[in-house]
Point group: C2
Chain length 135, copies 2
DNA sequence: CTGACTGCAAACGTTTTGCACGGTA
DNA sequence: TACCGTGCAAAACGTTTGCAGTCAG
């Protein structure tokens, strides 16, 4: 189990309280928009600047410590980079969840059909989450 | 074969020269960013306003005549709504192409794994297109 | 000690809005 | 004719940049 300090060092980023908290927030919440993250950060660092959030998010995205996820019909969210996975977005409560299922078959099929050499896949599915199906 | 005039009428939009041309451009090019579309429109309507482009794109997207496609690491492109399909984005020449392959299996699998009732899928694959593999 | 990071303010690019005029139905 | 669409200008919005002071390594 890797510490947040190690995670930053591996990505050649200095360890600052703001960065540690950004990562802690993303680990806790999974997916956050810029302004959700900013609001949460303000609770811990009342003087934190939105510019600091942007600079850090952009740097962490460049070093691939985190990753932007573009949400159809919504704002981008950010997440810690981990194993490849799909995203589920709930139409009702708008939460974003990861699910891990194999994508090899569809990628193989797409390579055959298109002739592309595929490097990466971005799969987002929209629907109703189990919680909202009950309510 | 449906005319562009019919397409607009079905979506409760008045038929104007600007709208006809926007649709013609999207039909011709497949996928366009806002500013690509604006530049192309300027060639036909030297006084066309960027605001007109935005208003029309937004209205056509609301009526689901067209659809925004969010490109990982790039600007959104717009396309005419047609049968469901995947998007391929070339890392080298940045072109966007449609491919039509079945997505039922992966959607079924995702529904089982997540418990979501899935309504729509957004699948974009990044890689090298056949043309750029040669060059 | 040096370079990197932070916060603030200003700048920037993109998208939206309000309004007067013109065109569609 | 009534309403919708257009073009222009201004406003709003999200994001980036420059700078001076501070902090991590």
């Amino acid at each position: 189990m890797e510490t947040t300090v190690e995670l930053l060092k591996e990505h050649s980023l200095k360890v600052t309280p703001q960065r540690l908290k950004i990562i802690a927030m993303l680990e806790k919440h999974g997916h956050l928009t810029i302004d959700e993250l900013y609001r949460l950060m303000l609770q811990e660092f009342p003087n934190v600047s939105l510019a600091t959030i942007y600079k850090n998010i952009n740097q962490m995205a460049e070093t691939r410590l985190i990753q932007e996820v573009k949400i159809p019909g919504g704002k981008s969210v950010y997440e810690i980079v981990k194993e490849p996975h799909l995203h589920m977005v709930c139409d009702r409560c708008h939460k974003v969840e990861d699910i891990i299922i194999g994508t090899d078959k569809i990628i193989k099929e797409a390579e055959t059909a298109s002739g592309y050499q595929i490097q990466e896949s971005f799969i987002t599915l929209r629907g109703i989450c189990p919680d909202c199906q009950k309510g």
